[in-house]
């Protein structure tokens, strides 16, 4: 059985197709233009025959899709599902749906995403990208597709961004460690080709220096933000230190790696936080459950997703294009047993 169309509704209600469309969308001039009686009749028929609008047809006509596409680098990182959740709450309440893409941190994945976004007449994009350039953003803007960037990478390229103040966050983490008496603090970095990895690494160095704490080159262990291989790498790395020169604290660039580090430390028989304290970044749910619970920097990821979607929808539906904003989110230090 074929789906009911506006034509069917019109015929059964004894009106024209235009009138049906008007009760669905109103009119651009704000007037109502449909009598209560007619409207009632039409709505009735719609329910009766189970009419549903065909978004393809509407999209073809209006060149809109009520679709927001989201690009994330790694769905396996609990951060992103939460971001998506928040975005979904906002989007759904405004009549938008979410097209989600995990790029697996690959440039190919990001390019594919861009093509999809264009093919599907996506109304707007939420991007956590590592590879897209200003020119890509410009192309989007030219095509009339507004975007919101997650993180600072694409600030000043013409779109809104929403990030957390990483310097302030890392500063508070180091305050916490220093207060606990640590001075030999190591950094398990993220992928330093990635902007966040780079920022966290560089801010760590700067902040250590400004505290007059030594940052031996050996105190830097380079990771990738991913779980894989971190435990083994950390184990080997720790074994390379004599006890008295071993770092007494490790600041991992994210919780995933911090948790792997914890495993490694325990495996070689050291105590946390007695021998080595560990802290992470992101405050993923798992941070609370590991043994010992992990100290981390967190912020309300769902709110971030919501805010991103809100910002985006305002752009999509807004008349004028105001100056792009770079919004900073406040963070929170979750001090737990691992330090």
């Amino acid at each position: 059985m074929k789906r009911a169309t506006q034509n069917d509704v019109a015929r059964l209600a004894g009106v024209s197709r235009a009138t049906v469309s008007y009760v669905l969308n109103g009119r651009n001039d704000g007037t109502i233009r449909v009598s209560d009686e007619t409207r009632k009749k039409i709505v009735e028929v719609m329910h009766e025959i189970g009419y549903r609008v065909n978004m393809n047809a509407r999209g073809l006509k209006t060149n809109k899709s009520q679709l927001i596409a989201i690009l994330v680098p790694d769905l396996g990182n609990p951060f992103y599902p939460l971001l998506i959740r928040g975005a979904q709450k906002q989007a759904h309440s405004c009549g938008y749906r979410l097209l989600i893409s995990d790029s697996f941190s690959s440039e190919e994945g990001e390019r594919e995403f861009m093509e999809t976004a264009l093919d599907r007449s996506t109304d707007g994009l939420i991007l956590d990208s590592s590879y897209l350039e200003r020119t890509d953003i410009k192309m989007l803007l030219d095509a009339g597709i507004p975007s919101v960037g997650i993180g600072p990478r694409l600030a000043d390229s013409g779109i809104d961004t929403i990030s957390i103040d990483q310097r302030a966050a890392i500063r508070s983490l180091l305050d916490h460690l220093e207060y606990r008496g640590h001075s030999r603090i190591a950094h398990l970095s993220g992928d330093r080709n990635n902007l966040n990895g780079k920022i966290r690494y560089e801010v760590f160095l700067q902040e250590m220096k400004s505290r007059g704490l030594c940052v031996d080159e050996r105190y830097i262990l380079e990771g990738t933000f991913l779980r894989e291989g971190i435990a083994a790498k950390t184990e080997k790395w720790l074994a390379s230190f004599a006890p008295q020169e071993r770092p007494t604290a490790i600041f991992a660039a994210n919780d995933l790696m911090a948790i792997e580090a914890i495993k490694a430390i325990q495996k070689i028989g050291l105590r946390i936080p007695g021998d080595v304290a560990v802290c992470g970044f992101d405050n993923i749910p798992e941070a609370e459950y590991v043994e010992p619970p992990l100290t981390s920097i967190g912020f309300d990821v769902e709110s971030m997703g919501k805010a991103a979607a809100k910002l985006l929808i305002d752009r999509i539906e807004g008349e004028s294009y105001d100056k792009p904003q770079a919004i900073g989110l406040t963070f929170e230090l979750f001090a737990r047993k691992s330090t």
Copy 2:
């Protein structure tokens, strides 16, 4: 600047629109019908002017969308992002995109999802639903939208389902315990109003009986699948046994509860696995981190997502509609120190 259309391509290449469409889609009768020279010229022009197909227009014409919608109950549960990842890998490689919806385990969320799926001419659905009924499924099937259910709930309602073979899994867990010399085996059940809770409970009873092992009523402790309150409950329960009648092993219906049980057992001074062995179900990441590491049943969630998408796409693109399958996924027993 407006987007290029097939018309533009045709004009610039000096051919008709039909020919452009043919090089894009071939012809239904399988013939080629476009000379190599013409084809080359057309492809060239497409690149030159950056032509991209308009999915709305194509969808309107074909009543397809190359869109797969996925319904999950809780993106905060690490299981689902992995499932989605797997599904995405498969879907993208076949030219489909993913429309994702978190229902927050609410009926309203599931209903909203169904409407979206219809409005958007979704080609197929992957459903992890708690509320949808056979009538809903029937409606989808009537509308020509194939679906794949995650878990056994919608088996025999006309769609394919993909689940893990819980009976085989529990059997292997019991084999493992019996082999270790256990005969007084207790069950910390999940919520038995929940389908999984019920299945695990009933299969446990049946399998114990078929082994000739006694299942004293006192060996069943009812939980809810959630962490909350399990530790205290377990502690109290264990204290009610004289040492010689105490179960020597506990099979918890999920890892979350197993981990709480471990805490309780250790708290009252019993040894794991010496005095009481513990095993769980799900193999969540945390299972690896607790002390002692938890024996559990796990399976490859990404593969499950991949398999679901593959099954679905086969249905979407398949000619005939074969009998629905209920696929069981193979599991893996992760034997760790807790047993």
